[in-house]
Symmetry: C2
Subunit: 299 residues, 2 copies
């Protein structure tokens, strides 16, 4: 046998060595492939979130406009709203202080949330009511200046800091709006529910107690509008709105016919309410603040 091996041609010998080499190569390839697959599998659960996040981030951005003012319950309200928004991806929060300057505790709060945000102050002129109108206008002007060349589809939503939000309103309703979306609001204007009246997926009017004959009888928390419509109009909560309802006045300027509104939540079972027009009420505050962060009523 030994002598027979000895007489093998160089070609045969080379073939044998290359075969060995190929075996080693295949073994390494198999081992590393299995390792990589196991590694990926072990990370799958963790990465589901990342996958979900990246899906959301490829979806329309939501610009959330919140007018706010100093009052004893403001930090409580704003903390709770901030913590809702921390569950929502791909948003930009525009917070506008009613007054001559921004508040340091609010600035710290916004920084802590790690939410992409813009925070500035705007004084309410004498001819407008102190109800967040001037601050919403300042936010709209900011969007119209800064995002003038923004071509991606995005949405604008007015979120007051004392309302209560189910975070599903952002992903299930607002983010799906094409031009102007509307939905039910709980506890608005002393009503159990204010809701669009929907027939065959088309809004034909409003199920409301308060001024039912408004063209857009919808609460501030009950609609979202595309950034494109905001950039394409000059709609504001302006002097012309004094004496009428701000939502109706604003949406008349946006000018989407009732038949083209996009209703949400009217066809689910059960019909959950995802936003409530709540109010945090505190009695007249007594006593000291003992060095703790406390905001007196500003307006």
């Amino acid at each position: 046998m030994t002598s027979s091996t000895d007489v093998k041609s160089k070609q045969q010998l080379k073939k044998e060595d290359l075969w060995k080499c190929a075996s080693i190569f295949l073994f390494i390839l198999l081992t590393t492939s299995v390792s990589i697959i196991l590694l990926l599998l072990s990370h799958r659960d963790v990465c589901t979130n990342e996958y979900h996040t990246s899906l959301i981030e490829s979806q329309p951005k939501i610009f959330i406009i919140t007018p706010t003012y100093a009052r004893p319950e403001r930090l409580a309200d704003l903390t709770m709203l901030a913590q809702v928004l921390m569950h929502v991806k791909n948003i930009h929060w525009v917070v506008v202080e009613d007054g001559g300057r921004i508040a340091e505790p609010v600035e710290r709060l916004l920084h802590r949330t790690e939410i992409e945000h813009t925070y500035f102050s705007a004084v309410t002129p004498d001819y407008l009511p102190k109800r967040g109108w001037a601050q919403r206008n300042a936010a709209l002007r900011h969007l119209r200046e800064k995002y003038i060349a923004y071509t991606d589809h995005a949405l604008v939503y007015f979120a007051d800091d004392d309302n209560s939000y189910d975070y599903r309103v952002f992903d299930d309703y607002i983010r799906k709006v094409k031009r102007l979306g509307v939905w039910a609001v709980g506890l608005a204007a002393s009503s159990r529910i204010e809701a669009p009246n929907v027939d065959n997926d088309t809004v034909i009017g409003w199920n409301v107690m308060y001024r039912p004959h408004r063209r857009y009888a919808v609460d501030m928390a009950g609609f979202a509008v595309s950034l494109r419509l905001i950039l394409g109009t000059l709609a504001l909560f302006g002097k012309d709105c004094v004496g009428s309802d701000p939502e109706d006045c604003f949406l008349r300027q946006i000018g989407v016919p009732l038949s083209e509104l996009e209703p949400f939540g009217h066809d689910t079972d059960p019909k959950d309410v995802l936003v409530w027009h709540t109010k945090t009420v505190v009695s007249k505050m007594k006593g000291e603040s003992y060095g703790y962060v406390f905001e007196e009523k500003h307006l």
Copy 2:
């Protein structure tokens, strides 16, 4: 040259082929190592959360007791509280309905949060006020029965559903309590702030307007107690507490001397308030609910 190659010995040839083979082997090893390292690096950010979570999960569990009852604003309040708790890891939420049966919208809400929870109902007997006492008692009895053999360090916190919580109160205060921790509460009992009076890290009394001479002049949202102390006493919000303040009455039964209380948040700069005794107030509700989920006032 050709003839010189031809006369190479078998040994020399073998060496040359093995060298080639080793080169390929090394190349594959290097490539896959670099790939694995890059793969691991790309997952590092995502996995930081998992690491943080597992750190928290090795820390004490928090049992959160929430008495609740049906009312128009309840789903708004409970949704907002649930969304705070979704930011907190390693908790068990014990929700107790005041009434003969649990509420389906609450059950759905709890299920949606994916928070570990127990939800049941308890009727308030005639001799107790309808202020969550019987429900907190039912939750305490549940813990004493179910966790009798629980030896790990854990905490118990009473969180009413209409308060406002900064989620830091759970990780920065409650989870660090050894036996009985106390901290400031905003907007409690018409006061700006109610806080423990701390001297040299020791509680020496209470900075409060309302009944300052109580032994434990602390709001329900202003303390957390170790599960061990709950299991080791029979403390309840019982008949004996009628006519006194529930917090003071309960903590007297727990029996930790003032000097052994653990104060939190008195030495931070700035001194943030992390929990507020807020109240959501709605006017008398009119109108229909148009098929949307709405809860009438139960109590």
